[in-house]
Symmetry: C2
Subunit: 652 residues, 2 copies
């Protein structure tokens, strides 16, 4: 399973799984203390992991950081860790069950020594969890660093991280496995589904769910794309056909989102994350406050009053976001004025230069939108940091919400303006197409090719350096060099941007689907290339990320559902405004609006009912879950019954 | 705690808790078998309960049913049953914990013999649960009743019930306790809050939650009532003031429903039902199908294909409901035509007789509405029965939905017609007031006074009969007579009708609040009397119901929320239609509608966000729940750690 083994100081061979990089100026005392705590037995409050310093390469250069450590664990320790994090594995009876050491032999694929039972990603997750939960005992500060205060129960790794003593901690890639995965994922020429189980095996559930969603989303849009093509080709403009198309789209968007929940639940069940209990979340490394008592654990830890945080959110963040939205609106209005002015100049005296002038406002606006997005993203991160959320999940939710609202506004405000204020359907169609195509090209460039190009340049430099030292032409890269190479790769920051991109694409497809039927086609084509570029990026450009035991796509499900609700409103309004419909209701404007609003409300109510009618978890998985619960209850009852026959024990 | 004890056949005294009444023609064989199974030890598949036949009264009349049995249990058995149903009780450390016999001494108020630890309602619930889960072993039919088929695992009581061999099973009242409760509940003259804890203690959580909701709802409407009074008194008709009042009402309705969730969760936590796990639901007695394997339990039981049931629901029930709605609409139209005709006759030649003629359509319509409601209710029950739902909860949900939709339509359709088709605000106000006041008076009459009057007549007859036999003027009623008296009382069919009434009242208050500000005042007054009449009914008119360990008001929460969403739409439309607003937008009808629709959408979005912002469970209870979970996880970890020190045991 693993390509190389190392020997730790105690003389026992171990497989290196995770790299811990400390600052190069970390004091000897700190390092020695940290290593001791990591190696210490669990009874003594240690992690009982294996850890070893990387030997500096031959001809090591001055600037290379010597404080890099490889962490692994004995097989027994790994199984105990798997039980601790509540890992779900497939039992021999076909059910997914929580793994325990006592019942280990009942699990499928468990063979005495356990090789091949836990995937490398799982092992790395266990090690990360063990390191994260390595807690201070009676130390009041990190030895060798007076300023890094500790208190009993504080996670040591998080304190080291927040103080900059720990630079990074990342899992190692597995060259052979990665090569196999890359080949089956994007190396083959023939079209096939993604190897989702292998992706999950290598990158973990969170990543695999993203790729599953991307693939599902692409296929789900196919019907819309197929129906949209004839509309575009034959330029069907009949009222009836458009209404049918829009109606189909609205219902379809709701249905695919509901069906995704079922599909996602099926995957999460197979991967054992559906019923896995979330561990108690540690405070974020950056969370600060006065030392107090945690009301849940009863341990000392920093506390920060919720009221203060709420005040910061509602009195600072919310006004700030609203201000940014206003600014975005203001810039959009300037853009429309500039465009109007440019058109007027061109109409009055059309020359070659005025023709070019017409494009300039759009270009400036596009550039400014991008700049605003970047600045806003940074501001949102700073603000959310300042809100001082205790948990990473709460931090992420607040950040996602801020960025989501602004991006939605920034991308679609001009389209809304054109659609509902200017009421210029031809311009809307043209703007939509331009925006969609430009953003797709920009995304693919920014996301995959640029980082790849940088990485490639960097790798080549490294390889040249290596070749200079020793002549390793066709031999395997030694472990030490692999570690140094990977430590320099860029860090994957999570699926946030990927989901955001899909969310905006979904907006382009659903919000104005009735005026531009080709949008779905474009998005489908984009998604096919997106799968390849994202896969490529994951395998070649970034450090391996720690796996994330997600059971669903979280807040994004809600975001997509909100978008599909907004789409009902916009599409109904667009159809109500179309000249064909107006001609149909030529006797009464009021009647028209009543009908539009009425149908819109009915559609919204229908969407709402659909979410009730379509169950979130498929029946066969519900039955499996109920079955497992029933079995454990029956087992408990039997146990009670047996105890009951010795009444002296039960009824004291 | 209990007023009387009895002695069972084995010679041990026991407190009678539950009465089981078998058909008077039940064969000796059946009775003997049933009693043996109830008394049998749990190891042998029995219930291990105490049961005794009631001795026929002195001078027993021919028609008195001799097959009445009292059921009770030993104290040890009761505690084991409490553990089985997963009862939550307050622990000495202040947390609500699941009761177990092994840890019984840690619970608050637990005193060796356990007196006062379990309330009588809890004991009765345990006995009901034990009787319900008394299962057939290898019997193929009920001995003495060839036609009553059994199969291993079938609940015996449910089969007896479905075959009519078991007539009823009900818990006994507790005269002393009931007298105390009645006094503190509705006996005192001074105004005070209801003794919710006592109500829960006597009637169980489901009942107590209803009364808590009734009380909460009354107080929550007070602000609306107080603000509404000056509007009515001074006949404020300004546009601004009305808009403010309507806006306040809409936000207020959302807020009170969200806050109720929190209050309800607090109550459910205190009463131990919030985190109590639902037991696996048994199939309903009336559920039928071919014998197959239950996929969850793996036991043989009747199965009925879901597809068939879905077909029945969507192809028969839904069209039937739609047809009924259409019929209701049709009758409403006839009513309006009759009324128009009567008015015309009166206008043409007004005499005394034509004046009376004007009232006749309303009277006929009101009567027909009542008749339709009753017929529809029966039809809905038959249809839902025919849909053959496996679980009682699913049966209830489908029945509630059917009745809810029809009642909503039947009660409000004429108001909607007056408001939005006739657009006659004066008539709307008048109809609303008439409907509201009439329905309140009708309800109070039908619900409390009629049953009370019947019951009183019946009781008096019984007492006269008793007096004839023995002269017991001021003595206590003997147990046997109490049982016979209670067996003849009407059966309380659950909180369905009570919630339905509140739901319709909420509709009168919220849907058209902006045209009739006095509605809230009327509803508040009604609710105050409703509390008294419902309490009276529970204590004096009905048999004691079995307690129902509910943790919330279930589907009604959803129904009330749906009503408040519809209220946003109707109120916005009413304001948009008012002449004052129309005058304000006199230049453009279109502008007016856009604004109305826009504000309505904003209000709906705001409502939606409020449900996210206001958390369903108060913080302090969330902390308590998390705390308990954390403690049990830590305990588990410690246990593991201890086992870990004996490695031979853990790592085999």
């Amino acid at each position: 399973m693993l390509q190389e083994s190392s020997i730790d100081s105690s003389g026992c061979r171990f497989t290196p799984l995770v790299v811990v990089e400390l600052a190069s100026d970390a004091s000897e005392e700190t390092i020695a203390w940290l290593l001791r705590r990591i190696r210490d037995k669990q009874q003594n409050g240690g992690s009982e992991l294996l850890v070893e310093q990387i030997s500096p390469g031959i001809d090591a250069e001055e600037k290379e950081n010597p404080n890099m450590f490889l962490v692994g664990a004995s097989w027994q320790r790994m199984l105990a860790g798997a039980e601790e994090i509540g890992l779900y594995k497939e039992h021999e009876d076909g059910f997914m069950r929580s793994f325990t050491c006592a019942s280990q032999n009942g699990f499928k694929d468990f063979k005495g020594d356990g090789d091949g039972f836990l995937s490398m990603a799982e092992c790395q997750y266990i090690i990360k969890h063990e390191l994260d939960t390595l807690r201070a005992k009676d130390e009041t500060h990190v030895p060798g660093h007076e300023s890094a205060k500790l208190y009993p129960g504080k996670s040591i790794i998080r304190r080291l991280q927040s103080k900059g003593i720990l630079i990074q901690i990342f899992p190692l890639h597995e060259r052979e496995e990665l090569k196999r995965l890359s080949f089956s994922w994007f190396g083959k020429v023939k079209l096939s589904l993604q190897p989702l189980d292998d992706i999950r095996h290598y990158f973990g559930e969170g990543q695999a769910l993203y790729f599953a969603f991307l693939e599902y989303f692409t296929f789900a849009l196919l019907p819309m794309a197929l129906i949209g093509i004839p509309y575009y080709l034959f330029a069907w403009e009949d009222y009836d056909k458009y209404v049918i198309f829009a109606g189909f789209n609205l219902v379809w968007c709701t249905v695919i989102l509901e069906l995704w929940k079922r599909y996602g639940a099926t995957l999460a069940y197979q991967w054992g994350t559906l019923s896995r209990k979330k561990a108690f979340e540690e405070p974020r490394p950056a969370f600060h406050g006065v030392l107090g008592l945690n009301p849940v654990t009863g341990r000392e830890e920093p506390v920060y009053p919720t009221v203060k945080r709420q005040l910061r959110v509602y009195l600072v963040s919310v006004p700030f976001v609203l201000l940014c939205l206003y600014l975005s609106l203001y810039i959009m209005m300037i853009y429309f004025q500039m465009e109007g002015w440019a058109l007027k100049v061109h109409d009055e005296d059309p020359t070659f230069w005025t023709g070019i002038l017409c494009f300039i406002p759009s270009i400036i606006y596009a550039v400014i939108i991008e700049i605003m997005n970047i600045i806003y993203r940074h501001a949102a991160e700073i603000l959310t940091d300042w809100e001082n959320h205790r948990l990473e999940s709460s931090y992420q939710n607040h950040l996602v919400l801020k960025v989501l609202v602004f991006n939605f506004f920034n991308c679609f405000a001009s389209l809304f303006y054109i659609a509902f204020v200017m009421q210029d359907i031809a311009l809307l169609r043209q703007s939509l197409a331009t925006l969609l195509i430009t953003s797709q090209i920009m995304n693919q460039l920014m996301e995959a090719f640029l980082p790849y190009w940088f990485q490639r340049r960097h790798n080549n430099k490294m390889m040249r350096k290596l070749r200079k030292r020793k002549i390793l032409e066709d031999k395997e890269l030694p472990l030490v060099e692999q570690v140094r190479l990977e430590a320099d790769m860029s860090t994957y920051v999570g699926t946030f941007d990927d989901y955001l991109e899909l969310f905006l694409l979904f907006g382009y497809v659903s919000l104005f689907s009735c005026v531009y039927p080709l949008a779905a086609v474009l998005v489908v084509i984009n998604n096919f290339t997106e799968i390849y570029s994202d896969a490529f990026k994951m395998c070649r450009v970034f450090k391996r990320p720690f796996s994330d035991p997600a059971s669903n796509i979280g807040v994004w499900q809600l975001a997509f559902e909100a978008m599909s609700a907004i789409a009902v409103v916009t599409n109904c309004a667009l159809i109500g405004m179309s000249p064909q419909v107006k001609a149909y209701f030529d006797n009464s404007e009021q009647q028209l609006i009543f009908w539009t609003v009425g149908i819109e409300h009915l559609l919204l109510a229908f969407k709402f009912m659909l979410t009730f009618i379509i169950q979130d978890v498929p029946k066969h998985i519900q039955i499996k879950l109920a079955c497992l619960e029933y079995k454990s209850m029956e087992a408990l009852k039997r146990k009670k019954m047996l105890e009951g026959s010795q009444p002296s024990k039960t009824y004291q």
